[in-house]
């Protein structure tokens, strides 16, 4: 192609050769960028170990899905689509931007593979990409600056609004698009004026508009604009690159790494230290995260990658009911603290404890570990493991809320949070329906199936109904099953997630021994927390099934026959327990059971499946008294249940049952909505006659 305008490499700006500038800008830009990144890597290097260099085929798939295909973005429709447009444009234009930088030195440069037809196709593509990105930036800017969606608000206690940064960056991106297009359009206009072969400009693209508008401009003016557009593009490009690591736009660089190294094991809690075995824990000087450096390097990368989009907090049940927790600000405050302690310029500052300076105690205790934040995060940031690590340090320092100390003490002494005597653990079996028998493993014979009851369904009078319903179903199916009785201890699921690791290990070891002694081939439980613990926190025991998996199998095999829906119910909704759904992906199993009851009509809540709203939390969370709370999570959920018009809500977790039942009662919906555990509903519909 003939150059009718002098390329940037050959002009002279105030006596300085253009080629010098187009070398200087990238060299300075890249050096500054490398320096900034090196400084930003210091805290990561000081972080604790975190083995994420495994299962690469899976990791690559996740990158394709969550990074390249932006899978989570459309969960928020408008913002998601705008982001996808800008992201896709960025990917397409990255080739053009690199080419432009090189063309500053070598005007004849063509990106490898982009000569001939492919070059023309690419040229059209990138013209449209630039146009779309500019329009998306304008739309995003209006959205942020004028409509100001609720979730971007920064409450006063967390600092000032971040709107300026968002708009500024949108402006930079818009500038890149404008100058890239202008650079091309001026050349095209000059070619057209002089009757030379005209480069292909995509119709209706930004460059196309510019080339038409500038069609009659004098060559000298076109030349000035051409050169200016080039250098402004160059300057913005490298400024932007160096600006990214100073704020929330760091994600432009870090998100791909964040997704590559994402957590692959749902529902699992990280060990105290990845590089220290359970046996060596006693030698550790301290537990958990007290200072920034106690976080793993990946958790610090999470802080860098947080996009400040507020989706986590928008879905966080604790934030929704006004508890002093907003996951978004866990990341933002930690990142600000990290930037403050490890500045790009200047000395690294002395470490200081996070709790008390950056976080508040109740902020960390407020989390129910429901996982809604992690499910929503478009860049796959983690929160639960961080909460657990912060709690581990607080437990060690004795900073445990008074409301949790009694149940923890009882768990230590009696193996259950209620302080009930061990021998009372099987008292629920005294009131079983006629014919149903529950044997205690090890007493006479060793049953194949061990029903792990866990504390809530063993001791809480209302929740014992779940244990009895489960036993009835097992009896109906002719299953050879037993329980551990007084040998059972609390599964310790929440004990671990509340940071009392050593107590958890004691409970786990006692249970593991008892389960092994029972000789059981498989474990069943009706408590999703126990289900999660047995499968993810325990080792060397048979696999555990949730009772709903067992029920569905039996329905499918014909072993369970269900009668048509009883008359007092017209519309049913299902509440997803966090440790069934998000942490174990069992969304459909319970729904399929409900759908197997003839005549049952099911309706979904707006927040269902992976967006389910936590009932208030299980285990120790039942005892925790938050200092601030506008309403209980169970009450909020009761409201959502009522909105569906359902007159029966079914769940399959003892804690959901107790929290939602409370929520329904305390919000005056007692006569309006019934609540039942899935096992209770199934027992009511077991067809004993046509077995």
């Amino acid at each position: 192609m003939e150059h009718l305008l002098i390329p940037p490499a050959e002009i002279s700006v105030l006596g300085i050769p253009g080629i010098f500038l187009s070398l200087l800008i990238p060299v300075v830009g890249i050096c500054a960028f490398l320096y900034i990144i090196a400084r930003r890597l210091i805290p990561l290097a000081k972080g604790t170990s975190d083995p994420r260099f495994d299962r690469f085929p899976t990791r690559i798939k996740k990158v394709l899905l969550y990074w390249l295909a932006q899978y989570k973005q459309p969960r928020y429709r408008l913002a998601g689509v705008l982001h996808i447009l800008i992201f896709a444009g960025f990917i397409i234009l990255s080739i053009r931007s690199i080419s432009l930088v090189i063309m500053g030195v070598n005007p004849e440069f063509v990106f490898p593979g982009l000569d001939g037809t492919s070059g023309v196709v690419y040229s059209v593509l990138k013209d449209y990409a630039a146009t779309v990105v500019l329009l998306a930036c304008i739309a995003a800017g209006i959205r942020r600056g004028v409509f100001k969606p609720e979730r971007y608000k920064v409450p006063a206690k967390y600092g000032t609004e971040h709107t300026w940064e968002a708009i500024f960056v949108l402006g930079l991106i818009g500038g890149l698009m404008v100058f890239e297009s202008l650079f091309e359009a001026t050349a095209v206009a000059a070619q057209a004026q002089q009757g030379a072969a005209v480069e292909m400009v995509a119709p209706l693209s930004l460059a196309w508009f510019f080339s038409i508008v500038l069609g009659a401009a004098p060559i000298a003016a076109l030349q000035s604009m051409h050169s200016a557009a080039y250098f402004l593009h160059d300057l913005i490009f490298f400024f932007f690159l160096c600006f990214l690591p100073f704020g929330k736009h760091f994600h432009v660089i870090s998100s791909i790494f964040n997704v590559v190294f994402l957590k692959l094991d749902r529902g699992r809690v990280k060990p105290v230290r990845w590089d220290v075995s359970d046996e060596e824990l006693d030698n550790l000087e301290s537990f958990g995260v007290r200072h920034l450096e106690d976080f793993t390097w990946k958790h610090m990368l999470d802080f860098y990658t947080c996009v400040d989009c507020g989706r986590c907090s928008d879905n966080c049940p604790a934030a929704t009911v006004g508890r002093p927790l907003s996951p978004r600000f866990i990341s933002i405050k930690a990142r600000d603290h990290c930037f403050d302690r490890f500045p790009v310029f200047g000395e690294i500052k002395e470490r200081e404890p996070l709790v008390g300076n950056v976080f508040e105690e109740d902020e960390i205790w407020s989390c129910t570990t429901c996982g809604a934040c992690e499910e929503e995060c478009p860049v796959m940031n983690e929160y639960i493991d961080k909460m657990v690590d912060l709690r581990r340090a607080m437990v060690e320092e004795g900073k445990v809320p008074q409301s949790l100390q009694k149940p923890l003490g009882a768990l230590e002494k009696r193996g259950n949070p209620y302080g009930k005597m061990e021998k009372k653990r099987q008292e629920w079996t005294q009131e079983l329906p006629e014919g149903v028998q529950v044997q205690v493993a090890g007493s006479k014979e060793n049953p194949e199936t061990l029903f792990f009851v866990d504390s809530a369904s063993s001791f809480d009078e209302r929740l014992q109904e779940i244990a009895r319903a489960s036993a009835t179903i097992l009896h109906y199916c002719g299953e050879d099953f037993g329980i551990l009785g007084k040998a059972e201890r609390d599964s310790g699921h929440e004990v671990r997630r509340f940071g009392e690791e050593m107590l958890f290990q004691t409970l786990r070891d006692t249970n593991t021994q008892a389960i092994q002694n029972s000789g059981a081939k498989r474990l069943l439980t009706s408590d999703p927390h126990a289900f999660n613990a047995l499968n993810k926190d325990y080792a060397d025991i048979p696999p555990a099934q949730h009772i709903s998996q067992f029920i569905l199998d039996k329905i499918r095999s014909g072993a369970i026959k269900l009668k048509p829906l009883q008359e007092d119910v017209s519309l049913v909704t299902y509440h997803d327990p966090c440790y069934m759904g998000r942490h174990n992906l069992l969304y459909d199993t319970p729904r399929q059971i409900l759908d197997s009851i003839p005549g049952l009509t099911r309706v979904e809540m707006e927040r269902s499946r992976d967006r389910s709203f936590c009932c208030g939390g299980g285990g120790l969370m039942l005892f925790y008294e938050p200092p601030e709370e506008e309403q209980r999570m169970g009450q909020k959920r009761a409201q959502m249940i009522a909105e569906t018009g359902a007159d029966l809500v079914v769940s399959c977790c003892p804690f959901c049952l107790t929290n939602l039942e409370d929520g329904i009662k305390t919000s005056g919906k007692e006569g309006q909505i019934q609540i039942m555990d899935l096992t209770e509903l199934v027992v009511r519909h077991l067809d004993w006659e046509n077995k």
Partner: protein, 263 residues
Amino acid sequence: MNILVCVKRVPDPAENEIEINKDGSDIDREDLVYSVNEWDNYAVEEAIQIRDQHGGSVTVVSVGDEDSEEILRREMAMGADQGILVSDDAFQGSDGLGLATILKSVAESGNYDLILAGAQSDEGAAQTGGMLAALLDYPYASLVNEIQVQGGDKLQVGREIEGGNQEVNEIELPCVLSIQSGINEPRYVGIRGIRKVSGVEIPEKGASDLGLSEDQVGEQAARVKRVDYFHPEMGEGAEILEGSTEEVAEKLVELLKSKGGLK
């Protein structure tokens, strides 16, 4: 300030079902789990906070059998600097005065500026602190719910008075205080904390170490003796409120108001 805190190992009603034994002499001690007396735990927390702010040391002492070592360790895991286990067959059956006599010897064997005891323990007599003060000829304040260290050798202590009133006293050191629950928020002691102090030596002292003779302590010396122990028969007066939740709540509020439980 060197502080001595008296602690006792007791069965916590929150973790046990307390029943009377067959011969009606005591509670049934089979299948009980034990903890540190709740009031004593507050006293230890208070002592640790005073030490952390003003320096000195915290010593915890328990009179009991070797099982009491476990609660001494727990309090040391909490932050007490040392523990003393006072144990001797001769101490069996001591009454409150006997116990105070033992503790007096312990107090005199060290150099303590302040002695704290829980307001009461499992037996509810609430007498040991006061008797100990009298035996030592120290000033005494009971049911203390606030302690402020004044310059020199004085404390300012708040006391909870029946009816919710508060009294503030100045008290000279050395002194004995009995601590009311709620004075602070005791820190949590995890299993790891206890393991960390599991190797620390806890000296054990017997009657001869403390210079005590048989006529001062134990069953022989006891001048208060338990003659019966039982759960009173359920009396009349229990009332079951009936009606809807709202009605029951309304009646309950009325009842509480009329009996002075609500103002």
